[in-house]
């Protein structure tokens, strides 16, 4: 069984990329330079209106808060995913634990969100319980805050962040940790100096699997965040479905894509950073 040579693959893959990435992107970019139709859609005429409309401080504020929320979510998710993935990979019950990580996702996403609303809402079970016991005087505002959006996004993305980390930790040769300890590193330091650099592929995948959907999210902020925590995804959805201003939706999308690309580039640069021994 020789490895098949590459050219055989590049064909289909180029088609994939063209069809599913370049083409939609071109259509979106193209649409942003067209005049909007009356009931959605576009006319055939060129127009820069969508780009002019973009220079709206409100939009830019949303873009900034999108970036902040997405980064916070990514950090939070990764912080939870790394120890979880480590614990699973080192356990004797790997398959069971992995299964448990995925199980919550049997129930519909929307339903789970509404269950959380039922729990966390101002009249929700949690506030009612706290009031009942007299621990609070009036309901606490859990929902419709940036924090709640980040928390629910974290909850949503956690399994996707855990899986690639698990895969790379499970493959990691733990005798390297022993070697590092043998050579004078304490347990924590050994993990930082030897485990982390050797599971970088998993870390990268995990962070990207969180950062990219977080930047593009619209369901969570809509349901949990309310108007104050709108993200770019919500603006785009509004322009597409309510305002029916497709060119503006398109220019917002181009902005979002640029933001995502920026995030990825910055992240990759950071993660490929210093090639030398990372001991301070």
């Amino acid at each position: 069984m020789k490895r098949l040579s590459t050219p055989a693959y590049l064909g289909p893959f180029s088609v994939w990329i063209l069809l599913f990435f370049i083409l939609p992107l071109l259509i979106i970019a193209g649409t942003s330079f067209l005049e909007k139709g009356v009931y959605g859609g576009v006319t055939g005429r060129l127009s820069l209106t969508a780009w002019r409309d973009l220079w709206n401080p409100a939009f830019l504020r949303v873009a900034l808060s999108t970036l902040v929320l997405a980064c916070a979510t990514t950090v939070l998710t990764f912080g939870l995913a790394l120890p979880t993935a480590y614990a699973i990979a080192r356990s004797r019950y790997k398959n069971l634990l992995l299964f448990l990580v995925i199980v919550p996702f049997w129930t519909n996403f929307l339903i789970r969100i509404y269950a959380w609303i039922a729990i966390l809402g101002n009249n929700g079970y949690l506030n009612q319980a706290l009031l009942y016991f007299g621990w609070i005087a009036e309901p606490v505002q859990f929902l419709y805050t940036g924090t709640s959006v980040a928390a629910v996004m974290t909850y949503t993305f956690l399994p996707y962040a855990i899986l690639p980390l698990y895969a790379s930790i499970e493959r990691f040769d733990f005798s390297l940790i022993e070697a590092a300890q043998d050579l004078g590193a304490g347990a924590l330091r050994a993990h930082r100096l030897v485990l982390l650099p050797n599971i970088r592929a998993g870390i990268t995948a995990s962070l990207l699997f969180t950062l990219i959907p977080a930047l593009g999210q619209y369901a969570v902020p809509q349901l949990i965040g309310g108007r104050n925590s709108f993200m770019l995804g919500n603006l785009i959805a509004r322009e597409l479905t309510v305002s029916r201003n497709w060119p503006l939706a398109a220019s917002l999308s181009v902005l979002l894509t640029l933001l995502t690309t920026l995030g990825i580039v910055l992240f990759l640069r950071f993660s490929n950073g210093p090639k030398t021994l990372p001991v301070k």
Binding site: D173, S175, L176, E178, A179, A180, Q181, D182, L183, G184, A185, G186, A187, R189, A190, L193, V194, P197, N198, T276, L277, V279
Partner: protein, 372 residues
Amino acid sequence: MQAEIAPPHPGPEIPSPRGGVAVSVRDVGKRFGSARVLEGVSLDIREGEFFSLLGPSGCGKTTLLRILAGFEEPDRGSVRIGDTDVLGVPPNRRHVNTVFQNYALFPHLTVFENVAFPLRLKKLPRGRIEEEVMEHLRLVQLEAHRDKRPEALSGGMKQRVAIARALINRPGALLLDEPLSALDAKLRQQLLVELEKLHDRIGITFILVTHDQQEALSISDRVAVMDRGRVLQVGNPAEIYEHPNDLFTAEFIGETNLIIGKVRALEGPIAVIDTPQGLWRVRADAPPAPGTSLTLALRPERIRLSRGDPTAFLQARVEDLIYTGSQTRVFLRTEGGLLQATALEAHGRQYRKGMTLGLSWNDNDPWIIPGP
């Protein structure tokens, strides 16, 4: 042109040059779940000696090494390295370093950075690190490969990096966990010689774990033979090979003919023993009383073969010959069973299957192992 020939080594008979005890193990026991891995092991390893833990897989030798390194804690007993009791001391605070079986080189670091790792941990100044690392890379002849990643190295080179890395902290003892088992036969020979050279040069204690008796006998000052969690015998290679004091050691170390017998009479220091192969006369320091059942052991190379010698002890027919180049293993059918003899190749060539040969040996060649 001159053949590549192995360099000097201290030789088995020479006692350890320094007197102190490098590692002392007392009554160490260890279980994993219901499996007893070590059952009351006691050992003293002298400063500067080349000490081997020899035994089949599962005998507990690697667990013992891991206890010395600090990766496992014993359930009972004590372990001292130098003057300190190390129980509960984590691996990074123990004055020993390990060469792992798979080398455990850090794949994300170059050869230089691998060797520099322990020094960087100590935050030594840059120039000092450079100097020490290069000195140790020279020691294992790898200066030219300093910027390669481990994946680009051959098995032998990886092993040498692992050794340099383990030595750079100037440990009190170097622990080697089957360092040669991943290598080809010929390379194994060569690296064994290098290891010996290295030990002579730097003079620290080496503790080698191996399942290969040839390896242990040829390189060690002393050998501990282990089986099922116990140390059966400790001694220099000649003692181990020539006077194994139980069946396991006799069978595990080299080839041995084992014959069951019963003492018939004593004639001074000579025991006359009744065996299926006839009466054997064996010299023994403390011969057992007549009537005792015992096992006689005789190394194949101690059997002298001759043709038409009427004074031979036994007559046997050559049943098979296994040629291995430098020597020939001769399988001999006697009236009482099969015996195996070894002939140097030059002699082995004269024998043919079906020949009848006379077998003889000296009174002090066979030795007695208690019990059948």
